[in-house]
């Protein structure tokens, strides 16, 4: 329970609520309640719950209850308005601890001694105070480093589907991510929303094995927790992340899984409130709401820390045009898309060649950062792989025997690209040089004339080497 006694002055307690609808309660005969204010609710049995004011009217308020309204009764529920937005304690003490979705410890340990309490909603960063992310993070995964480079301060989600190894890929990123030639304090903030216990377990075990657990803050709002709590989980997690990054100057990697569950909780509340639905019944403000989370990644002036976000979401029915991946893609700086077909062919990591993208790649690669040939070889690998897809489509109609010799080379390149370049072991960490050399190795299966995106000098230096 977050409670700071000396703030009791501003809080007002009322007994009895007028109406309970799903996760919402409507309280009347009240006075001076503000929008988005934190609410404490106590049942007749003495159970405490938290909520937020969604609508403030004269003498009434609509409150969403994070833990659900089970067990609440109209006359016996007491409601206390706290006179402030939801704030969470922040501090370095929180590293190595486990919390629930609204920041209460669930690891049996004591409440952390907070340095400060910060508003979970955050404050928008002034665009003029941002530092443009440019530092290459080596993940050791060729498909990411070579073709969809992650940079520090980026928000790069993993678009996955049910049954695809997004957790393995993310865990591998967490294990291997580093800035080459730099040794600095880093932290991981992990927010689980509506995922199963074993998924959380998998990550915790992983953190333990790599020995980073004392640098991790976990926020767990698992599948059996009330759905409304999920709305607060990423906000709480990002608030801690902001503290660690911008106050303590740490490099923070934020993993949020699964964003689809978060959006569903949002839809649930919206529907209960009778708001006008937009696509697939998600509220019209889904974009703004997601942006208020994703935009909290980045770097700011006067602070050497950074927040890099890797949200994970499962695309319902593998549909990338579903509102959740679609709006996410519009906000984030690229996406790592996992492909079922590759996974079924036993290729790990099954990172789709074409739809994956890193928008900040252009600024994080090249001489001095990775290698001078990086941009061109990456572009050429993409272009050639796009051609492979065409040739394969053709081959499925006319048969491989009928293909021209050049088309056959493309088929060979496609195989090599998937089996040698994309594919790697879960514990295999490739340096960026290894990745680029591997890229040259597979592209050299194609004749030089086909490589229009590469300069003469690069061909001389790397082709067929």
């Amino acid at each position: 329970m977050i409670s700071v006694k000396n703030e009791a002055l501003s809080s007002r307690e009322y007994r009895g609520v007028q109406q309970i609808v799903g996760p919402l309660i409507i309280v009347d005969r009240i006075h001076n309640v503000g929008f988005n204010e934190l609410v404490e609710i106590r049942t007749s049995g003495g159970e405490e719950k938290l909520g937020l004011v969604l609508e403030a009217g004269e003498g009434m308020a609509v409150v969403q209850v994070f833990e659900g309204t089970t067990g609440l009764s109209l006359p016996d529920t007491s409601v206390r308005f706290r006179g402030e937005a939801l704030k969470v304690p922040v501090g370095k003490e929180m590293l190595g601890r486990v919390f629930d979705g609204v920041g209460r410890p669930v690891d049996g340990g004591p409440r952390p001694i907070a340095d400060e309490r910060w508003d979970v909603n955050g404050v928008p960063v002034n665009p003029t105070a941002r530092t443009y992310p440019k530092k290459f993070i080596q993940t050791g995964i060729s498909a990411i480093d070579g073709m969809n480079t992650l940079v520090r301060g980026q928000k790069l989600p993993v678009f996955s589907g049910a049954g695809l190894p997004h957790n393995k890929v993310t865990a591998q990123i967490v294990r291997q991510a580093k800035i080459v030639g730099e040794d600095v304090s880093f932290a991981i903030v992990f927010a689980a929303m509506g995922v199963k216990h074993d998924v959380a377990r998998y990550f915790i075990d992983n953190f333990q094995q790599t020995g980073v657990l004392e640098n991790v803050v976990l926020f767990l709002s698992l599948a059996d927790a009330p759905s409304v709590e999920r709305l607060m989980t990423p906000r709480t997690a990002l608030t801690i992340a902001e503290y660690l990054a911008f106050r303590e100057n740490m490099h923070v990697l934020v993993i949020m899984t699964d964003m689809t569950n978060y959006c569903e909780a949002l839809r649930e509340i919206s529907t209960v409130r009778g708001e006008i639905p937009s696509r697939k019944s998600y509220p019209g403000y889904l974009y703004s709401d997601l942006a208020s989370l994703y935009e909290r990644a980045g770097m700011v002036e006067q602070s050497t820390g950074s927040i890099t976000q890797v949200p994970i979401l499962t695309m319902p029915n593998d549909d990338i045009s579903h509102p959740v991946p679609d709006l996410t893609g519009y906000i984030t700086e690229g996406q790592i898309v996992l492909e079922r077909e590759l996974a079924q062919r036993g290729i790990y990591p099954p990172i789709a060649g074409l739809p994956s993208l890193s928008r900040l790649m252009k600024d994080g690669i090249g001489p001095g950062m990775t290698r001078e040939d990086h941009a061109h070889i990456a572009s050429q690998l993409f272009a050639a792989y796009a051609k492979v897809k065409d040739v394969r489509a053709l081959a499925s109609v006319i048969g491989e025997e009928e293909l021209t010799p050049l088309d056959n080379l493309y088929i060979k390149y496609g195989e090599a690209f998937e089996q040698q370049f994309l594919s790697q072991r879960e514990d295999e960490e490739r340096s960026i040089e290894q990745t680029l050399d591997l890229g040259w190795q597979v592209i050299s299966l194609l004749p030089k004339e086909e490589l229009q995106r590469i300069t003469e000098e690069e061909l001389v230096k790397y082709y067929g080497k």
Binding site: G34, N126, Y132, S278, Y285, G334, Q335, D363
Partner: protein, 592 residues
Amino acid sequence: MYKVIGIVDRVLGPVVHARDVVHAQMLELVEVGEERLIGEIVKLQGNRISIQVYEDTTGLAPGASVYGSGMPLSVELGPGLIGSIYDGVQRPLETIKHRAGQFIPRGIKLPSLDRERRWPFTPAVRQKDAVSGGQILGTVPETQRILHKILIPPGLSGSIVDIKPEGEYTVDTEIAVVRTAQGDRPVRMFHPWPVRRGRPIKARLPSDTPLITGQRVIDTLFPVAKGGTVAVPGGFGTGKTMVEHQVAKWSDADVVVYIGCGERGNEMTDVLQEFPHLIDPRSGRPLMERTVLIANTSNMPVAAREASIYTGITLAEYFRDQGYHVAIMADSTSRWAEALRELSGRMEEMPAEEGFPAYLPTRLAEFYERAGMVETLAGEKGSITIIGAVSPPGGDFSEPVTQHTKRFIRAFWALDRDLANARHYPAISWLDSYSEYIDDVTPWWTREGDPEWPRFRHEILDLLQKESRLQQVVKLVGADVLPDTQRLILEVCSLFKNTFLQQSAFDKVDMYSTVPKQVKMLKIIVMFYRWGLDAIQKGATLLKLRKMKVVSDIMRMKFSVANEETEKLDALAGRLEREMRRLGEIYDISEK
């Protein structure tokens, strides 16, 4: 100036309702609560009003006061706009940073134009001169590139009774006094203007000059005239923002207003950090010296996003009124439409398609109609070109914002997912895009480019259409069965796509192409087809054509020939002709 006009009785996120209201006007600027959050009255009903608030309303409670300003939401127009970055309601973000740090606090109020800075002013009128609204009172060299013309506010006319001599003044100095029928009126170096009202003009003019963007696929295939309107729709990751950035950087507009509407903060930072270092090839000055930025990033309050489009277009109109050609980029209009939808929903209005309010098309039309080539009140020629990005959900162009936008624009640069996936940028589809300005700008191109330009352009578009049909066949049976004359079409189109349409935004040579370079490159590729067809008909094979030494030079000409040395392209065309003729001759002789 502000007085209490009502009491808040309901807070619903960015929409606030108030009761017991006296003296409120529609679209009046108000301040709400102790924190004095800025808002605008959007609905009046009896003694009740609805306000859209431009800041986060957390903690705002019923009972708070509403303060009326008696005037509509306005922007300040005067020297100091260029090179600035503002939020959606023209608050100066740079100044806010110095005052409040990295984050944007609520309720902060700072003048949009720097009140301290002194500007060198040169008067252009004398005492007793008769003046009227829109007339030029004097000039201020705002940047080395932009001579800022101080205008008499529209609606004011009379005779000058006092004018300050040449010298340095701050923006709020009274530099002139105009005697009007209603008495003497002071005129400052800046004046306010309500954002939702278009600034008056003398007349609309037809436009026959293209806005040269330096992007080959745009200028050559789908040009836009100065004063035109364009929509750039595309799913996520197809490169809308890159197209907008490229046009902002390399177009030949005098002033660029860039509105980041509900997009990423890092993109604005990118512009802020990159533009001061990029040199405009035409003036030799940093690009920032002609750019104004409006940033309402996606995590900033949604109501200010709705206003940001109007703020941007009003600034554009002000520079147009000074006789400049202005290009305005709105990235993205879909986020603006969504803000409209969100506010409409909170006001419990009846929704139309996909939850958007029924007045969406009206609002879109109002915005795009503020573009155009005009004669200003001062009798000069100025224009506003609007390039609006559209972000259709799921990349599906049949959604309401794309469809309604299409009714009010005349050029359409459709971004294609498959092209983007193959990293073919700019991913502007040559099959789905169109430009209705082509007839308007053709005379210009034949005059400034090449008399044959319309024919070249038509020929290449025709080949692209043929190619797309041939590709259907190829997909079924492979390219091998086609005769060499048809495979030549595939070859030429592939060459055209790779060397001409694809343009690298990061390559120092390729990032923009001048008109002569574009025309000559186009010509070489068209000639490759004509001469190649001739050679094949004489008996040469496509394989021989492909193996010509000149081909690899053509393939790399966009990188190897700088904009200043297009004569190298003439030499390349000459070599192509010679090699082709030689090829044709071999076969001609062997047949005989």
